[in-house]
Symmetry: C2
Subunit: 388 residues, 2 copies
């Protein structure tokens, strides 16, 4: 089975770009990835594209063919929608196709346009990632759901709002040098603690922002890369997906995310590595507590241990395991349907050594990305490795 | 490479069921397919699910995990959205996974809930399958788009409204014995001709109805079927997808659907057959003219020849190539995100000999299904064969 080489990556800046159409955003990311890859147009065999709320944001469904055209490509295309894990699944499906020997060159990524909608409309639109019948009608929204998860975690393992604040501080610090990030400014623990409450115990600075943006990666087979002498020093060597019941009420516990545990186990097995081999991680910190749950699900920390990781400096840029050097969803921004692809873009640059935060890493070999949908009813984990 | 065996199929009745939730509809189809397959619950490794307009119909995105749960399964799930080709792509992705040797047992299908919305809201929702910026804002809707395609066809190849009326008459006649069909009543050419104009030259009886319904198929590897002694006499031996620009204005011609030609060529090559081998076809007749374009794209008729096929009896139940024995989208109904799966369900029964219209076929061996999205910007073709 062939490994999948990352031949090119592209991002738009993440942030408020309400005047730009979705196709404009995706074209920018896709053309950047295509330019970096240098693969001829007619070699592309398919586009796997993630988008979540295009029906509301632009009244635009059926975005697969639209985005293939925006990317300047003439090949079959399809949209994947699994809430905030849409682009992670798009990348995963492309990886699987290449590893199965079906295709040699695919474009994968995603796009979300959000800030052209009012905040209340965005909140309504995001809510469709939860169970409408049993959660949304009862007044549940995502800050509320993650607040419940934080409370359950605190109750089971301990932890405090201040522990969470250190995660926000870390991710904001990481975003400062990242030219693609939405919030390139440091915050303090005090600012995070004093920010407005959203859903106890989560405050405003525990939450990621609303963001427009797109991501794209050009994936090629090992054979294609060798044959065409492509510079593609990073491979996706492992991929895993896990699922869970959509509604929180149907879970065994709120303090763990078993879908991500399953995805991680599968991805590690696929890559033939374990959590001890991981040098750097990009995880789905839609809320600060989500970073904690992600790190524990990935086996990078024992249950109950990740809550203090940022505070103790273990996951900061000078720690033993830097997490979300991109700035994470928290500070880099979270254009929902693009995020899973953006994590792969950021990780590729970190492993290649051409990321704005590459100086935080010393000869990194193995990175993981963790992308989640809803309250982790969908989870996708990828293992990226430097190949030589 | 393993062929993919169809171990079980399930449908809901198609029609107006506004009081039923999406999960209820999909559960019915999925549980029927699961019961027929008899595969144990823990053998299922994934759910590939198609849905188009759930964001509008039920304010429900992220339906992959929701529908896995509705189907009683605990495995990763994902939603595919490519407008009216959503379930065709869901089936195709499942087929590819099994053929690649990644999985042995998958559930695929789709669901659409439509009649709980007002007609104007459904029309608005369907329009998101077209290009919002360059088609919908200019007043284009799907009856209008297919009317343009019909006019272009008439101009290039000839043909008349009466030719199209014979297609509607044929598909209504086929639906009469099909207990799952929405319109189980015959119509006459005169009724079709005299029905209200919608978009010249298309009248009301040229169009498929608005429908609630779901479809599901259990797909297993050859090896799994043999090892477990499953009765699964029909295989999916070929699968192909094609794409085109989303907006009609960006096409070379309106009188052909090259995305479907590409999908058909790929599917035939995959199966090692040609159009001459096809005994029976289920095609995407969202409008009568679409059946004509489909049959020509599939190579079952030369360009300009399919327009009179129904009128001349070639595609009727007693013709040389029966088309849409299910009743087609026209009379069986068209729950958008379920249709591509429903075509596979109907074809499986036709090839197994347990369809309400099986008496129209004598020892059929090869069937094709043709599922299209938008004005055929997405197309998926599957070849099904009886294995012995």
């Amino acid at each position: 089975m062939s490994d999948v080489r990352i031949a090119g990556v592209g991002l738009t800046p993440f942030g408020e770009q309400p005047e730009r159409t979705g196709r404009d955003l995706f074209a920018e990311a896709a053309l950047a990835a295509r330019e970096e890859a240098g693969v001829p147009r007619d070699a592309y065999e398919g586009v796997h594209y993630g988008n979540f709320m295009g029906a509301f944001a632009e009244r635009q469904g059926h975005q697969g063919p639209l985005m293939a055209e925006a990317a300047g490509l003439d090949c079959p295309a399809m949209r994947h929608e699994s809430a905030c894990a849409s682009a992670g699944i798009a990348v995963r499906q492309a990886v699987r196709s290449i590893r199965a020997g079906e295709h040699d060159v695919l474009l994968a990524g995603g796009m979300e346009r959000m800030t052209n909608l009012s905040t209340s409309r965005v909140t309504e639109s995001l809510a469709i990632a939860a169970d409408e019948l049993f959660e949304v009608r009862s007044g549940m929204n995502f800050p509320g759901a993650y607040a419940l998860m934080a409370r359950a975690y605190f109750e089971e393992y301990g932890g405090s709002r201040e522990d969470l604040a250190h995660i926000a501080v870390k991710n904001h610090a990481n975003a400062v040098p990242n030219e693609y990030a939405q919030y390139r400014r440091e915050i303090t623990v005090e600012q995070a603690m004093e920010s407005l409450p959203v859903a106890t115990p989560l405050h405003l600075f525990d939450a990621c922002p609303i963001t427009d943006g797109a991501s794209a990666v050009v994936l090629v087979s090992d054979e294609y890369a060798e044959e065409h002498g492509l510079e593609a020093p990073v491979s996706i060597t492992g991929s895993g997906q896990g699922g869970d019941n959509l509604a929180l009420q149907d879970r065994d516990a709120f303090s763990r995310t078993p879908a991500a545990e399953k995805a991680a186990t599968a991805a590690y097995e696929d890559a033939g590595i374990g959590p001890d081999d991981v040098d750097v991680a990009e995880v789905h910190d839609c809320f600060t507590i989500a970073e904690v749950l992600a790190l524990e699900s990935l086996g990078l920390f024992d249950h109950g241990e990740a809550i203090t990781a940022a505070r103790e400096g273990k996951t900061t840029r000078d720690g033993s395991l830097p997490v979300n050097l991109s700035g994470g969803l928290k500070a880099k921004g979270h254009p929902v349907g693009a995020t899973g692809g953006a994590q792969v873009v950021e990780m590729t640059k970190l492993l290649r050594g051409d990321h704005a935060n590459s100086d935080a890493l010393s000869d990194p070999r193995v990175g993981v990305t963790h992308n989640a949908g809803g309250t982790v009813a969908s989870a996708v984990v990828h293992v990226l490795e430097v190949v030589e």
